[in-house]
């Protein structure tokens, strides 16, 4: 049996009181406990940012890597040992800005891992500059005349690239988010959960209340996430009403399954064979 206690970290939390990241952390623990994944059987890979600090505040195996580079690192780890259960914690800047190229290609590869994008629509750790997902016109100390680019829509991009599991969560709805994480982790293939996450220090627009008023639950609407066109419409729905839930789900062969050598088991467990090498050297 796995309990919430198993996931308690002794390491002191560093987030601002009231930060939306707490809701995500709790939802993660909740999902991990209900999936009965032991901390020693979980690997979290993260980039750099407030979001990327998440694994420090859990008890698990973790690699808190470079800004933007969590996905290729996680991909490498998964290739080495495809039995690993991998969660990736990333921010909107980390994932869609610095790591944008990796984001696109991780989707193409369909590596079996779950990506949580803590989308606070700002650069939290560097103190409130605009991020790729900041709304047009958002004023920050760095963008005093307002953001003059359109926001990046990670969900729509993921759908366009053929992602098999595309969801939006809200850190203020822990149970709902926990369910998304659970389903994402059970999904065989790349799963993206973009999470609306209030940043109480730097984003005064997209607050808890702002989201609460707008979020509506696709589970409650009996939405069937099997149609790409519908999913795309929902991914683009932003404003008075914002859908949360699984927008799209369709399993296809994941990356490791395309690699014949992995049929013999994870790379790390296969044997070095001097005779096999010598045969090649002598050829």
């Amino acid at each position: 049996m796995v309990g919430i206690k198993d996931y308690e970290s002794l390491y002191k939390n560093q987030w601002c009181p009231g930060c939306g990241n707490f809701g995500i952390l709790e939802a993660m623990k909740d999902a991990l406990v209900s999936l009965e994944i032991l901390p020693e059987k979980l690997l979290i890979v993260s980039g750099i940012g407030q979001a990327a600090k998440t694994p420090h505040f859990l008890k698990c195996n973790m690699f808190h890597a470079l800004h933007g580079r969590a996905l290729p690192l996680a991909t490498g780890a998964k290739l080495a040992n495809h039995d690993l259960k991998i969660l990736v914690n990333s921010g909107d800047g980390d994932c869609y800005g610095e790591g944008g190229n990796h984001f696109m290609h991780a989707i193409r590869r369909n590596v079996d891992l779950t990506l949580l994008v803590h989308n606070n629509k700002t650069y939290g750790l560097t103190k409130g500059q605009a991020s790729p997902t900041s709304d047009f016109g958002m004023v920050t100390p760095m963008q005093p005349r307002g953001v003059i680019s359109e926001p990046f829509n990670g969900l729509a991009v993921a759908l366009a690239l053929g992602a098999g599991f595309v969801a939006r969560g809200f850190s203020g709805n822990r149970e709902h988010l926990s369910r998304l994480i659970r389903e994402g982790m059970q999904f065989k293939g790349f799963s993206l959960i973009d999470i609306m996450q209030p940043c109480v220090s730097f984003n005064r627009i997209n607050t808890y209340n702002w989201y609460k008023k707008r979020a509506y639950d696709l589970f409650e609407e009996d939405y069937m996430p099997d149609d790409l066109e519908n999913a795309m419409k929902l991914a683009r729905q932003w404003g008075d009403r914002i859908p949360i839930g699984v927008l799209y789900r369709k399993e296809k062969q994941n990356f490791a399954k395309h690699i014949d050598v992995l049929n013999k088991g994870p790379l790390i467990s296969q044997q070095y064979d001097p005779a096999r090498l010598q045969a090649v050297l002598d050829a």
Binding site: Y11, Q14, P39, E40, K41, L42, L43, V45, I48, K53, H56, K59, C60, N61, M62, F63, H64, A65, L66, R69, P72, L73, A74, T75, G76, A77, K78, L79, A80, N81, D83, L84, K85, N101, H102, M104, H105, I259, D260, V261, L262, K264, L267, I268, Q270, Q271, Y272, P274, A275, R276, L277, Q278, V280, L281, D282
Partner: protein, 566 residues
């Protein structure tokens, strides 16, 4: 009689120069000869000018020769560009439609004969036939190589190639050639090897299991070789979206427990530098091959250089230990690559192998059999090795600086790693004692790493003048030394292979014996010379530097030395 013949095949990209050159190399190998061949080409797929230059010897040979005995001109331009390099009595064979008349020129009806043999695709076999006939190669030997090359393609293809070869032989039957020599049937002396292939094999001998890369000349060949072998080994070769992904992917794989590598050239290495630092601070073993080409930026994509030495020993911000090696020959590249994997894992530091286009793309006869290691020594800690796995600390401070390295999800021990500065347990820390302890811990490895470094290789090391170089120039420098000694000079050389951490004591020992030393490097500022001054206090009294993107020819070094030594 000693044999030392150079054949140059020149033409446009796309004319099959390499295929024909490879054919000649195989014939020479089959006859038990030694050879050394360079590939000179432009960064384009069609047109332009390329050549393949093969030096054939009855003794081991490790550098190209500047004189050409037989020039195979697949177009007129080749003749015009290279006729000045002909040795006395040297000849040129060229298709008669490209011109005729000059004394050294043998105009032959290549196209006509190729058509007779079955089409223009046989032109190379016709030309190779003519070329080998002039050199005095027994026809049976060529047939043997052709059957190995084309046997799989069916009897018809093979017969047509035999016929094309015979037409080539016949057409020069009456032509006298001064440099023709007697071919004694002997056993092959070793495998036909280029630097790229040797490194790929060395990676397998280092038990590399993930090779992630982004294509970039001249580093791509390594990955091509590995890809061809990947179905026979527990090995994944993955072309990723960019070099940043490549280095981070191999860090992830290594962290998870397999050995991993990437290969790139300077521009890609630039993109990897932050990842290199990540491997540094997280103490994750990785191997990066940097196949140098002239830069900066795109530079000369298909040319050779040694301009990245300073860059790779210091690349990435702040300080952390790393290994840097620069093998001189494919045989050594094989050994160094497998050793790089071993040492990188033993010390939990990144290892960089510095080669260049010249070594990557040149062909040699391997001078010893390549031996697969009996077993791979791993440096991994398991729960059983720990008193209390629940208390495991990935960055525990030890006297050697090396902490027991557990793998994620392999037991009860949790592996916690952060690219932020951290405590022993891996969690972020900004506390002063933690910062100091971690820097000291990482640096504590250096004295042990230095003990692993081999001294520079000496060749007539007791001489009054030493030529000092590193990596792939070894062959040309040694040959220059031989020639100068034959002329009576008191000269020798030193070749550095193990470059970082710098084996300063060994360098002092080697340099203090000589009156003066000259640097021989393929860069414009004598980077190793600067390093020697910094690390040993010894100052070179001159430098022979070449940075035009082309490899050193021994005669250039001989001429360079004569400017300093009378």
């Amino acid at each position: 009689m000693s044999i030392d013949i150079t054949v140059k095949i020149g033409g446009e990209a796309g004319q099959g120069i390499q295929t024909m050159g490879h054919m000649l190399a195989l014939v020479c190998r089959e006859a038990g000869l030694y050879l050394m061949a360079i590939n000179d080409f432009e960064s384009r797929i069609r047109g332009g000018h390329s050549f393949f230059q093969i030096r054939i010897c009855d003794k081991p040979v490790q550098a190209p020769h500047h004189k050409v005995h037989l020039l195979v001109a697949l177009n007129r331009e080749t003749y015009d560009l290279h006729k000045g390099q002909l040795a006395s009595g040297g000849r040129v064979i060229m298709d008669e439609i490209d011109g005729s008349g000059e004394g050294d020129l043998i105009a032959l009806p290549f196209s006509e004969l190729a058509k007779k043999a079955g089409g223009m695709i046989f032109a190379n076999t016709v030309a190779a036939g003519a070329c080998l006939a002039l050199l005095g190669t027994p026809f049976e030997l060529f047939k043997k190589v052709l059957s190995k090359q084309f046997g799989k393609k069916g009897a018809d293809v093979l017969e047509k190639n035999y016929y094309a070869a015979e037409l080539g032989y016949q057409v020069v039957k009456e032509v006298a050639f001064k440099w023709s020599f007697e071919w004694r049937a002997d056993k092959p002396k070793g495998a036909l090897m280029d630097g790229s292939k040797a490194i790929a094999l060395g990676a397998l001998a280092g038990d590399c299991r993930l090779a992630a890369f982004y294509p970039m000349s001249p580093a791509t060949g390594i990955m091509t070789h590995l890809s061809l072998l990947s179905d026979r080994f527990p090995l994944i070769v993955e072309q990723v979206e960019d070099e940043i992904a490549a280095v981070n992917a191999i860090i992830g794989a290594s962290f998870a427990g397999t050995r991993a590598m990437t290969s790139t050239s300077g521009g890609g290495f630039c993109l990897m530098t932050e990842g290199l630092g990540l491997a540094g601070i997280t103490e994750t073993p990785i191997v990066i091959v940097n196949a140098q080409r002239p830069g900066p930026a795109t530079g000369l994509p298909t040319r050779t250089a040694q301009g990245d030495l300073h860059f790779v020993i210091r690349a990435s911000q702040d300080e952390f230990p790393r290994f840097v090696f620069a093998p001189g020959m494919p045989d050594e590249a094989y050994e160094i690559t497998s050793r790089a994997f071993h040492l990188s894992e033993k010390y939990q530091v990144p290892a960089i192998i510095l080669i260049d286009q010249y070594l990557a793309d040149s062909m040699y006869i391997a001078q010893k059999p390549y031996v697969a290691p009996e077993r791979i020594e791993r440096f991994i800690a398991q729960d059983d090795d720990m008193e209390n796995p629940q208390q495991y600390k990935r960055f525990a401070v030890t006297s050697t600086g090396v902490s027991p390295r557990a793998l994620p999800c392999a037991g009860k021990a949790l592996v916690v790693i952060s690219s932020d500065e951290h405590r022993e347990d891996g969690h972020i820390s900004e506390a002063i004692p933690d910062r100091i302890a971690m820097v000291d811990k990482r640096n504590a490895k250096v004295p042990f790493m230095i003990k692993e470094m081999n001294p520079p290789k000496e060749y007539y090391g007791e001489s009054g003048t030493l030529l000092v170089g590193w990596g792939s120039t070894e062959g040309a420098v040694k040959e220059a030394v031989d020639r100068l000694r034959d002329e009576g000079s008191d000269i020798g050389c030193l070749n550095f292979v193990d470059l970082w951490p710098f084996p300063a004591d060994a360098a002092v020992d080697a340099l203090k014996k000589t009156k003066q030393f000259l640097m021989v490097e393929q860069n414009s500022t004598a980077q190793l010379g600067q390093l020697l001054r910094e690390q040993t206090g010894f100052v070179h009294s001159g430098a022979i530097l070449k940075y035009d993107g082309r490899p050193f020819y021994p005669n250039e070094i001989v001429d360079g030395v004569k400017k300093y030594v009378r």
